[in-house]
């Protein structure tokens, strides 16, 4: 009986700490989701501004060269809704992390031409910040446990992938931006689903 009395306050403290811990990683997810939303909107605006800058006669063909041959195609990622929902939170976070990594170098091409008002390397900085945030989410999920699936030693895609495609300048630019927007939307969806899964909302487990 005395032991139970001693354990009760300990349990209360642990439960309160659990609540605190939940709110902390919810905060991390919220931060990551906000940053992701910002990047996605930047990608969308980038493409729309690019299309508006094109002359009228050249806008139609640009839409044909949509999203084929993106660099992120080589990264295994869930593409179905059910598959995504069946994936673990850790897999979603790791996939997001790798997708961000694939854009660290190619995003430097965005500075200058399309985002003059925002300044140089804005997207690269935001990507780095987001990468750090996703890393925190992975660490928070693992909670000190060793990462068994990580460090797969899968090589990153060829960094100069986009440069060696047989595209003219217009197609090259459009492909880059289209692939970027697609990947941003994908990462945003993964993070959103992981956040919903980690929250106490029962709807997310459907």
């Amino acid at each position: 009986m005395a032991k139970v009395c001693l354990l009760l306050p300990v349990l209360l403290v642990l439960s309160s700490m659990g609540h605190v811990e939940l709110s902390e990683h919810q905060r991390l997810y919220r931060h990551a989701a906000d940053r992701m939303k910002s990047l996605h909107l930047m990608a969308v605006n980038m493409i729309s501004d690019f299309e508006e800058s094109l002359p009228e006669d050249r806008r139609a063909p640009s839409k044909i060269f949509l999203l084929s041959h993106c660099i992120s195609d080589s990264i295994p990622a869930p593409s179905h809704k059910d598959e995504t929902q069946r994936s673990s939170v850790l897999r979603l976070l790791r996939t997001s992390f790798r997708l961000i990594e694939t854009w660290e170098y190619p995003s430097q091409a965005f500075s200058g031409a399309f985002l003059n008002s925002l300044g140089p390397n804005v997207i690269t900085e935001k990507l780095n910040d987001l990468k750090m945030g996703v890393n925190l989410l992975i660490g928070d999920f693992l909670n000190g446990q060793p990462d068994m699936e990580g460090n797969d030693s899968l090589p990153l895609p060829f960094e100069d992938f986009y440069l060696y495609l047989e595209d003219n300048d217009l197609s090259k630019s459009y492909r880059l931006m289209a692939c970027f927007r697609k990947d941003m939307h994908r990462i945003e969806t993964f993070i959103r689903m992981a956040s919903c899964r980690r929250s106490a909302d029962s709807n997310c487990t459907l």
């Binding site: 999203l67 084929s68 041959h69 990622a77 945003e188």
Partner: protein, 586 residues
Amino acid sequence: MAAIQALFIGFLLVHDVAMQGLSPTFKDQSQTPYLTGCVSRAMESFYCSWSVGTFQNLTEPRDLKLFYMFQDMISPKKWLECPQYTLLREKECRFDREHTQIWTPYKIQLRSRDQDVVYDEVQFTVENIVYPDPPVGLNWTFLSVGMTKMYTDVVVSWEPPPSAAIEVGVGWLALEYETQYRETGSATWNILNADKETKKFIYGLRTNTDYEIRVRCKMKGFMNFSNFSDSLMINIPATESRVPIAVGFVLTAVGFAVIGMLVLVTRQKKLMVIFLPPIPGPKIRGIDPELFQKGKLSDLTSILTTHAVLRSDLYNDDSWIEFIELDIDKPNETEQDLETAFLIDHSASSSDSTHLINDFRDDDSGRASCCEQDLPDPDTVECRNLMLSSASVLDPTATPQTGAAFQDSWSGTPDLYAQVRQVTLSGEVVLTPEEQSHRREVMNKRYKPKCDQTTKEPEFHVRVLGDSDERGNTSEPDNNNMSTNQSTDRSTSTSLPLDDVNGAPRQPLMGYQEPQVAPATAPELTGPPSSALASPPEYTVVDGTDPQNSLLLRSNTPMAPSSSHMKQMPSLEGYLSPDLLDSIAF
């Protein structure tokens, strides 16, 4: 010419419409079958539909086939046929979840039965063809109305489309809702900013006006809006706002009443003190400001004089400032002091006046202790005591015993004689200034009452001279003057401690004025023969002291003192002890 232009314009328009369609087509829709578009409702499945166009002979099923292929780098380049043709309408191909890959480019082709003719082809990714269903369940709630009852605010709420409700719930699909409203009959819609909330606040709607509200949604980050929801018709009559206004008026009146009551109540001093405490005034440490208000100057002056800080201001180095005690204002206190003086005297020594003399100490400059007006200085009391003692010497009823004691005490005291020139109204006896320095020196050696201001001042004591025999026995011819006085003087002589007649600053001889000399007579005591006096010295007998402690001098009858007094004082031989003096007085 005009027809050609019309055809050309029509062609441009058609082409433009075709380009703005859901999916690009390469064929003129008026001739060949074409894909009307591929649509996804919740980004988990999609369907593509087509039209036969003008080829009416292709109404049979499977006259047209749809093939698709993934165009990413990892998927095999293989055409696959539509996974599911709809049964009801054979012009639609449905891709279920298994065959729906998001973020993967699709290539869709509409082919003929033989697959040798490709009528139409489109490329897309599923997220770009998401057109959600419109939201449902529009409802509105009254929020508030303005004071003028002309404008009101409402809250409109809805539900996400049922086909995407699950996807929205799990976070797979993020929708944004755009609200539009207009007055019924107006052509322009008011468009509000889209956000992810399923409710919207609409402000500034006019009362008694029909409004139409509609909502549509789209996927966040994309431009494909859904169709509009069913419009919501609202009309807020002005009468509905009267009730809250009446309540507002009532509440306002109640509030004013409460405030008025508070004002009336707070006029009472107690509550005023509670709510608005008085600001404390400046305080001098040790002094209560109420003394100023109540006018108790006596207490205030006592505080000021006793206060160490203030005392230093009062007693500065101005030595020319004299402090005179005025006993006119305080007759009662003087009587009390005298009573205490006598008490002290009795307690100190019963018959021996040596203690009285020895108790006199002049341990200060002589000013401080005597300058305090209100403090009954025990030294001044002793001074008065001495005065009284001196006065009692003159009492003819004094006993011989005390006289002997007094003689002993006074044995070492040289006899001092001085001529009393004048007795002032204030009780001072003015003596002729003769041999004052010598007398002063002698007196200061043996007897230094505290009442002296300084040791420099002369002192003259009242003494009653008796027979010459006693005089001869007791006195010591310290100076010739004295001996001369002894030999020639046979009457009583009085000497009083006086101020220096030369005009030196008077001392605060507080107690010296107590035994006031009755100004009935003006006895004159001549000094020693060395003084340049024309008239022979005159001596006045002190009859005694009156109740006011003043010396009663006999009328000027030289050489003829009253026999009664002489008789009464034969044994004394002119010397009275302080005890005798006390007995005379009381």
